[in-house]
Symmetry: C2
């Protein structure tokens, strides 16, 4: 006999109670699932999720034309928060209307950059289903980063289930457009109000989301890069391979320097030989004919800890290897090699890869020659390449993200 | 004729109105002082300061024994806040009862470590006067750091005047003890709720303060240091010379590593030769007989951008040079030199310097030998040194800070 449910839906409920109600009604959810052992020292739990529904007046008006939205300026209606303390572990995760966080002015995040984040997206497919792109990759990186940042660990699948609930609540915010998406920003901060430099004893996980518009509303826009080895993003023995907030603050002033020289991004070089590492906040790829005469896709390797292991980077490498149309190589690559290849007309394409844009073509490098102390303009023929390597990556990833093409295990339905 | 003032003091007032009242009453404050030109794009102003007095029930109980206080766990009654935005510049600074800040979850400080701080102290002298130690040094560093962090600049003297008002309000929190002090933490964060990595368009300056106890309640405690060149604090082309929050987050996990090896601090090495750079969050000093046979105080130089220009570091160098008892040298110094000097019994003292402790003696280095991949214990005879170099610095700085000794221009009365 199904239980009689109240006709008036409660404004606040937990996922556990919904599972219980659902089990009582349908007798399909195994009760063990609901009652299995907790270890709140290890993770928070999806079934503990408390959902606080917004009042109608708290819901915001959705943008008329999502393609025009600037990145990171518009937020959806809900946020997720989950507190942690060293004594009791994770508290119940909550989804509630987005609002300001109350943070003690002595909180570690405000002084010692005790913080990390992820950037990921949900897409409304051509079949109107909403899917996340490889969320387990982002969660695996977030867990690695949490350990390096001395912030608490959690379970990937519990988090993905919580993200799924957020997307269900805010599904109207996932744009109905195959050039837009809903950006998701899971964030973890140290919050205890004590000024000693040390492990956080309190922390807060939160997730905010927001629709983002077309990155390329008028076709690909090639970017100009400032390449100046006097500015360093990451170094061996540091945290460049982790998505910690501390990697970004020092780059903002360098970005201003780049802008003052009409460059949109910084090409981050490292070391005596000026190895290419990243571009802006993206990974970097080259497509060229190497000195042995092979057509080759190349990107810097992860082993020195200078490179953020990007989800798009990994996806391009996997697709490139699957297609088998050219060599796919992860190796250190320096400015002299780039200049030589350009001079010999062997460099066809250079592009950044990242969640925001998928790929971003490079049109020019403004290179500070450290020997002469002069700037050299290097023109990169990406936009006139006949090989279409970047374009094929862009099309394929987009087809997968919007459900026009199936790639096993990459898209996660909500 | 003096103006008749209300007998009931207002709970909220501005410093400007107080100056006006004072001018009307005493005819001593020149009215030009009050009405001089504003440029809120350049700085906030002391005369705009709004003071919101606490209700009696908001005032906290002061600790019975301040010497027992743990660093950074106890806060005084008031905080200062001052908002900034790119359009209108600085708003009015406010002093109000300490409380949680409301921060949007998309604020730059929570994602990209858009943050910086200072650490400084006020002391109650043996004459019962309250003084700050070289506050203009901290403010000069904070301004340099703000520029590097792409956060707004301000005027040092306006800030020192605001700090002075805070100290007057919270003067009962400045411990009546010549081993305790009131720690002050000016902080500047980027607050605009937009997720693009770029210059903050909104920011908040805030200051919190709190009494701190005796660093050495039972005499000097020598520390053990983990020295392992696989962990790097700062690098040329980075921001190690600035007091940005991003320099601290990566060190927390390394500190855990050190603690797991029974070391209290990390000796930060840099580069192929394993140059000594800093110790924990302190600068490092050695006192030795150099290879030429000179008695010499030595600390690493600032020019490579690897070293935070510490106020205590600067003070020790100035005192050491003034005394003229030994050579005082800023130069790069590496682990091999330290080991050689130890073996030849020429190394007498090694100590950290910083605001919290003034000086902190080093008793042991646990050195990871990168060639053998083994750990070597190096015993540093600081505690048994007959030269008393560290001890004299400690005594002198303490005498200056607590008003027993005058050093022109170092102490600022409130």
């Amino acid at each position: 006999m199904p239980a009689i449910l109240s006709r008036v839906a409660p404004r606040t409920f937990t996922v556990g109670s919904r599972l219980m109600a659902s089990a009582a009604r349908l007798e399909t959810v195994p009760r063990e699932e609901i009652h299995k052992e907790y270890d709140r020292k290890k993770t928070f739990y999806h079934k503990d999720l408390e959902i606080h529904l917004a009042n109608p007046e708290q819901l915001k008006t959705k943008p008329l034309d999502p393609t025009k939205l600037k990145f990171g300026h518009t937020y959806a209606d809900y946020m997720m928060t989950c507190d942690w303390d060293a004594t009791s572990g994770w508290h119940h995760p909550k989804i509630e209307p987005i609002g300001e966080l109350k943070i003690h002015p002595g909180a570690k995040v405000l002084h010692y950059a005790s913080e990390l984040f992820e950037g990921m997206k949900a897409y409304r497919g051509v079949d109107n289903k909403i899917r996340m792109f490889r969320p387990e990759m982002n969660m695996a990186r977030m867990k690695r980063t949490a350990i390096r940042a001395a912030l608490p660990d959690f379970d990937s699948e519990e988090m993905i289930n919580v993200l799924t609930e957020m997307l269900r609540l805010d599904q109207e915010w996932v744009p109905n457009s195959d050039v837009c998406s809903l950006y998701m920003r899971p964030t973890l901060i140290g919050t205890d109000p004590t000024l000693g430099v040390g492990c956080a004893t309190e922390a807060k996980m939160f997730v905010i989301t927001g629709p983002v518009g077309a990155y390329y509303s008028t076709g690909f826009q090639p970017v100009s890069l400032l390449a100046d080895s006097r500015f360093i993003r990451a170094f061996p023995g540091g945290v460049g391979a982790y998505k910690m907030g501390c990697n970004y603050a020092p780059t903002i002033w360098v970005g201003k320097e780049a802008a003052s020289k009409n460059c949109q991004q910084v090409l981050w070089l490292y070391g005596e030989n000026e190895d290419l590492t990243e571009v802006g906040t993206m990974n970097i790829f080259l497509f060229w004919k190497n000195e042995e005469g092979d057509m080759e896709l190349i990107t810097p390797p992860l082993h020195r800890g200078l490179i953020l292991p990007g989800v798009t980077r990994d996806s391009l490498l996997e697709l490139g290897r699957e297609w088998g149309e050219y060599k796919v190589t992860e190796r250190t690559l320096n400015m002299q090699e780039v200049k030589k290849a350009l001079a010999e007309k062997r460099l066809y394409e250079m592009f950044g890869s990242g969640t925001a844009c998928v790929v971003s073509p490079v049109g020019k490098i403004l290179y500070h020659n450290k020997v002469t102390d002069e700037y050299e303009e290097l023109h990169i023929p990406t936009m006139s390449s006949k090989h279409g390597v970047m374009q094929k990556f862009y099309n394929t990833i987009n087809d997968i993200q919007y459900g026009r093409l199936i790639k096993d295990g990459w898209m996660r339905d909500i």
